[in-house]
Symmetry: C2
Subunit: 343 residues, 2 copies
Amino acid sequence: MAVNLKQLAELLGLSQTTVSRALNGYPEVNAHTRRRVLEAVRATGYRPNRAAQRLATGKARSIGLVMPIASGIDSDIHFGEFLAGLAEEAVKHDFHFVINPSAPDDEEATFRRLAASGNVDAVFLAYMRANDPRISILKSLSIPFVVHGRSIGGPRDYPFVDIDNTRAFYDATKLLLQLGHQRIALINGPDYLAFSIRRRKGLMRALDEWGLRLDDSLVQYSEMTDEHGYRSMQRFLQQPDAPTAVLCSSTVLALGAVRAINQAGLVIGRDISLIAHDDVLPMLKPENFSVPLTTTRSSLRAAGARIAARLIGGILEQGDYPEQELWPAELIVRASTGATPGR
Amino acid sequence: MAVNLKQLAELLGLSQTTVSRALNGYPEVNAHTRRRVLEAVRATGYRPNRAAQRLATGKARSIGLVMPIASGIDSDIHFGEFLAGLAEEAVKHDFHFVINPSAPDDEEATFRRLAASGNVDAVFLAYMRANDPRISILKSLSIPFVVHGRSIGGPRDYPFVDIDNTRAFYDATKLLLQLGHQRIALINGPDYLAFSIRRRKGLMRALDEWGLRLDDSLVQYSEMTDEHGYRSMQRFLQQPDAPTAVLCSSTVLALGAVRAINQAGLVIGRDISLIAHDDVLPMLKPENFSVPLTTTRSSLRAAGARIAARLIGGILEQGDYPEQELWPAELIVRASTGATPGR
DNA sequence: ACAGATATCCAAAGCGCTTTGGGAGGTTTC
DNA sequence: GAAACCTCCCAAAGCGCTTTGGATATCTGT
């Protein structure tokens, strides 16, 4: 018993115009009438036909999402978590996604197709790289978009939500330095990604201020899997002058790192300190590690939700959001950080 | 310079009807006229407005996807891979997804909402459990759907694409038995999932035929992560009468298992044999393992693409697919399987 | 009490496509 | 040569919503 606007209007003895306006919050409707309409909607279970709305308004109520298929990114656990946030928010407003898989070298064409298709009102962008070409492409396509993260170099005036990676790892490093650590290593994400670059910068800056030099043999880049964390940590531990403290770009990496440390017979927080960035993955809580992890925390899912909200707000022309948001990451000290051994 | 049907028709000196028919492959159009239309489409870059098509045809051109958000499933690497296949196929036909996140206990309501909303033509279902209630729900909602996997128990007449898990693990076990192994362990997926249950059954059946009994202390269930594979294998190796061969439900699990084996100082293929199920994850190829892995192979991505194709075919009422497909998994013997040690 | 606001509501015109119901002209059929 | 068919095309009626451009009625202030 799916009703449509016309039937609903008839049932109420009103015109479609008035009912439509009552539903869409226009002011020229008597409060009492509006209440009646809302009541009837509840009673009949009326739901507006989206296709008709789209045709009439020109808004597709959907946001485009280019999903890289080549590398391991798409199957990445972090991506899934972020997507969950996006989806959660989108579903509240009855928005859809158009997921376009694309090989990295085909991205530009994919974006063009997406924009031209008219199937999406806005586009979302992530996994920013240094000098990322996609920003200029999207600007030229004149389709609204919001970026998760920031590029490095290139145009600066585009909407984004990012966390202050430099600051987060600067703070983390500072803590370690104050605890007396001098050789601090970094198990980072892929080296071409902007957040990796910034995290390294944060580390370097803090070292600089302390009068220390970053030793590049103490930085490892890789995809953020448990396995890579394990291997990177092993490599560090085998070095002649092994680090006494390690920064991890993800709790997933930390998982592997911890295993390597344990296997080497070392005790976390005593023999070696560990700080990881925590994306708040529901299945991997830093407080549940055998030794609870000191972390820089910022929820990936929240970022996803926020970006969805901004995208949708922009399309519906409601809500007011800052163009650029730089979220701080919270430094949470737990048991995995301690004073330098033998001091 | 976006043209619409009307303008295109005018430009050609034809009626909208004829142009529409030419484009949609109706027979009552002269071949020559059709060619002219197609040519004009190319020249003008005409693209039909989807919203209008939807309104006129009643088809939303989108498929619904309920994404579990509670457990680790959504961030699961296997899910991402499957999704890639779905998306790849969908984009070919300009189909969308409506991703609905849902807590497991809210699934029924989510499905109802999805079906009632009218913005999906069909629904896709995965992560089947034993006696899965979702099948009946979807049937009662009378919305087309295709299942990835099969339930166990409950109604049998529903469309699915599944791989023959029982058979795959039966074959794998058979191979191990022929090689002389008697104590064969299984590192399985979550115990409530249908495929896990079937794989265990395959193992058990082969053992039975060989006159052996399945020792339930040799079966571990867990989410399919590297970490869990590691732990499960460790547990097996610590047992007094450790297995000489192990079956893994995923190459991801095998990754951890291999680590545990190496760590124990054992040699794969000599001291202990390993067979894993290979979902053909692009980032994890069994032939690249330090000891190339014997596997039962079936591409998850291909399954995703197939399901998308069937769903879309059903909506568009074209193409003819079998209702139920049970794909065989290919047994590929590599170096990780060898004769029982000390025989 | 009357011109000008103000508050509510409505009829009708799209949005861009598909589809129904013909209809003109040319071919067959008997 | 008339009746019966094809073949190919068209006009117009929707699909279900939003929005424009009034109407009508009720208030204002003077």
